[in-house]
């Protein structure tokens, strides 16, 4: 299909997370089209060339390919992410916290702990900040993605390891309140 480069671009731009070549092939297959892994790989290289004069680049990481803004724009963008008083919303921090303590965890499981749905925007935002990543897929129907926190999450929150997270002590949990109606 001649349109392969555009399909790859659309997928990477909307995913907000690294994508494997096999995932791209699967999405194209669902459109009743065919694409070989080699063709997709070539489309990725061509797409990266197309980005030469733009602000984007394709970066290969462990879990696939992802679109990233070129580093020369970091000074321009930093203030947008520095001022996180409003953007690091409560919902975002709650989602991050649940992932930190319960990883690996699916979106559905996060939703059932929070009692409300977790917006796509939040998952995307956390992924783009590089605080969470997909670590695999749960072996249940639908194979939902399992999320876990990244090394960058630890760095940014000044934690040496995930064990450095404050312990959730029993005294803080509702099940153990002093008022323990037996």
């Amino acid at each position: 299909m001649d349109n392969l480069i555009n399909c790859v671009e659309a997928i990477l731009l909307s995913a907000g997370r690294p994508i494997k070549i096999s995932e791209i092939r699967e999405l194209i297959r669902l459109m009743d089209q065919q694409a070989e892994l080699a063709d997709i790989k070539k489309a990725i290289i061509d797409l990266d060339k197309r980005f030469t004069d733009s602000t984007l680049q394709i970066v290969e990481v462990a879990s696939g390919y992802r679109l990233q803004i070129k580093n020369e724009y970091s000074r321009l963008l930093l203030p947008m992410w520095q001022d996180n008083s409003s953007k690091t919303s409560k919902a975002l921090m709650e989602t991050l916290t649940i992932i930190a303590y319960k990883q690996p965890i699916t979106r559905g499981e996060i939703e059932s702990i929070r009692g409300v749905s977790v917006s796509t925007q939040i998952i995307r935002n956390l992924t783009e900040r590089n605080w969470i990543k997909v670590s695999g897929y749960k072996d249940v129907p639908g194979r939902p993605a399992l999320y876990k926190t990244t090394k960058e999450f630890l760095d940014d929150f000044q934690l040496k390891s995930i064990e450095d997270l404050p312990e959730i002590t029993d005294s803080k949990s509702i099940t153990d309140l002093e008022l323990n109606f037996g």
């Binding site: 731009l13 909307s14 907000g16 984007l56 970066v59 992802r66 679109l67 990233q68 803004i69 070129k70 580093n71 020369e72 724009y73 970091s74 963008l77 930093l78 992410w81 520095q82 001022d83 996180n84 921090m93 709650e94 916290t97 649940i98 930190a100 303590y101 702990i113 929070r114 009692g115 409300v116 796509t120 995307r124 992924t127 783009e128 900040r129 590089n130 760095d155 940014d156 929150f157 000044q158 997270l165 404050p166 312990e167 959730i168 002590t169 803080k172 949990s173 509702i174 099940t175 309140l177 002093e178 008022l179 323990n180 109606f181």
Partner: protein, 259 residues
Amino acid sequence: MKTQTTFQNFDLNKIPEDLYIPKDAFKLTLESFSGPMDLLLYLIHKKDVDILDINVAEITDQYVSYIDLMESLQIEIASDYLVMAATLAFIKSRMLLPTHEEDDVEDDPRSELIKRLQEYEKFKIASENIANLPRVDRDFFTASAALPKFSKNHKNSFIKNVDFAEIFSDINSRPKFDKSHKIEFLELSTEDRVRKILEFLKKRNIVEFYKLFKKDEGKQGVVVSMLASLELAKEKKIEIIQNEDSNHFYIKSKKSLNG
């Protein structure tokens, strides 16, 4: 739509066997009503009559049949459906009374109901229109890319100390209103809760309301604790306090209790 006349003569205790819509599909239809007004509108439009020409007697009978049907299919019926049934029955009884020539339109017992139905239908149609608007993550998708690398010193400056443990316990302490807590064996009694609150207030003078129930007691726990608190407040044994700027409220024992 044509087949639905079959439904009107069904045996109230079971679904007629000649009903060719599968039971599950029928259950789904019944469950899909967003409330009594929605059901009522459905019944009216099904007959292809105008709202203004409702035959209340007929509609009431159909409405009640549907409620019975819901019951037999074990669909949880909100009390609002029963309120509407009562309203319809009331209008029906009024309509049966002999009318006088000089009665004007305003006195039609149906007019209030008709007005409400018209108002509701307006929003029902509008909500279908809104549901059909292009929606993010369903009809269109936003584009974004990962951030460039920020230098470490810059980054550390913007992440303040975050108490993850506190956030976590905060999430956990919230009652889960969305879960259906079918607590079959645990019947919480208000009387019992009153006793326990009093016992607790002997040790401590003031307590946040949410500490009066446990997470696994679900909605019932909240309700029972609320009832118990109101009971105690009525008996002037406690005070219920809420700061203006807070969602939390507190239960405080009255002096007489300690002294």
